[in-house]
């Protein structure tokens, strides 16, 4: 699998994401936000966590308007696999690739800790190596992870089996405990927790590894 990881000014999980993808067997290239196109032959784009553009205006708002993001949106609209983690999720929501928005945490505090997640669907390239209802432990590190969408949108996400992960113990006020969601074609995943920080024994947990392996396996066999 050929993967690209986008780097914005203020990204700080880009290399973690690249390492997790490489460990899973992907060939990874880093792509700068000013680039106007993705490298030829790319199968997957990762949008990493961090504080792109200092979180100015709204988290992810400026990054979503960057030249590379137009290519990422085109890539996704053509059926490409895209994964946004944390700030990457905020960016994908700002581009409109995923519905809803991420608000300030209900408790107003930045939260950095391990949280239990429940795998809500195994019907995606990202989650197929888990089991339905499985509890996994993955860290969160965010100030604006409070997922918000109107009731119709939440009902649609649930009805279409597009909620990928929920929090076991909702840390940030997210509606319906939502931690991660899929696009309509199930090829775009955005989530606030960081599976790339649970992908090595030295991280204190490896529950994120299955996500990257599943993705690489799917794209290689596709």
């Amino acid at each position: 699998m050929r993967a690209a990881v986008v780097v914005f000014p203020g990204s700080n999980c880009d290399r973690d994401l690249a390492v997790a993808l490489k460990e899973a067997g992907a060939d990874v290239q880093m792509v700068w936000h000013k680039d106007t196109s993705l490298p030829e032959g790319i199968d997957f784009v990762g949008v990493p966590g961090g504080f792109s553009f200092g979180d100015y205006l709204r988290c992810g708002a400026i990054a979503a308007q960057s030249p590379i993001c137009r290519s990422v949106v085109d890539f996704a609209n053509k059926g490409g696999y895209v994964f946004g983690v944390c700030n990457g999720f905020q960016i994908l929501a700002e581009t409109g690739l995923l519905p809803g928005a991420l608000l300030r945490n209900a408790g107003l505090k930045y939260i950095c800790r391990q949280v239990p997640l429940t795998v809500q669907t195994t019907d995606s390239a990202f989650t197929q190596n888990y089991t339905q209802g499985q509890s996994i432990t993955v860290p969160i590190a965010h100030h604006d992870g409070n997922y918000n969408a109107d009731a119709d949108t939440v009902a649609r996400l649930q009805g279409e089996d597009r909620v990928a992960f929920t929090y076991g113990d909702n840390p940030n006020g997210s509606v319906a405990d939502i931690a991660g969601i899929l696009s309509e074609n199930r090829r775009v995943l955005g989530m606030m927790p960081h599976p790339e920080r649970a992908a090595d024994e030295n991280h204190g947990g490896t529950d994120g590894t299955a996500l990257f392996r599943a993705l690489v396996d799917t794209v290689v066999s596709a």
Binding site: R58, N148, A149, G173
Partner: protein, 79 residues
């Protein structure tokens, strides 16, 4: 000309910052504050001199960038 954009969370979207400010006002003894909503003000200096064109431009800016209309509403003043 100058434009001023007010961006607020939509009614019905929980505003945790506003709620915290309200709580702090209460602890300072300001009773009777029944609600606080916190938003932002963005001021723009525009080269455009036509009022209607300026308003149309700033409205487009709000739709594309300045506000996230999933969660925020905005209003535009041209002066």
């Amino acid at each position: 000309m100058k434009a001023r954009v007010h961006v607020m969370l939509k009614n019905g979207v929980l505003d945790p910052q506003g709620a915290a400010v309200r709580h702090a006002l209460g602890s300072l003894g300001f009773d009777g504050v029944e609600g606080v909503r916190q938003g932002k003000v963005i001021e723009l200096d525009l080269a455009e001199t036509d009022h209607a064109k300026a308003e149309a431009q700033v409205t487009e800016m709000c739709e594309k960038l300045l506000a996230n209309t999933v969660i925020e509403s905005y209003s535009v003043e041209i002066a």
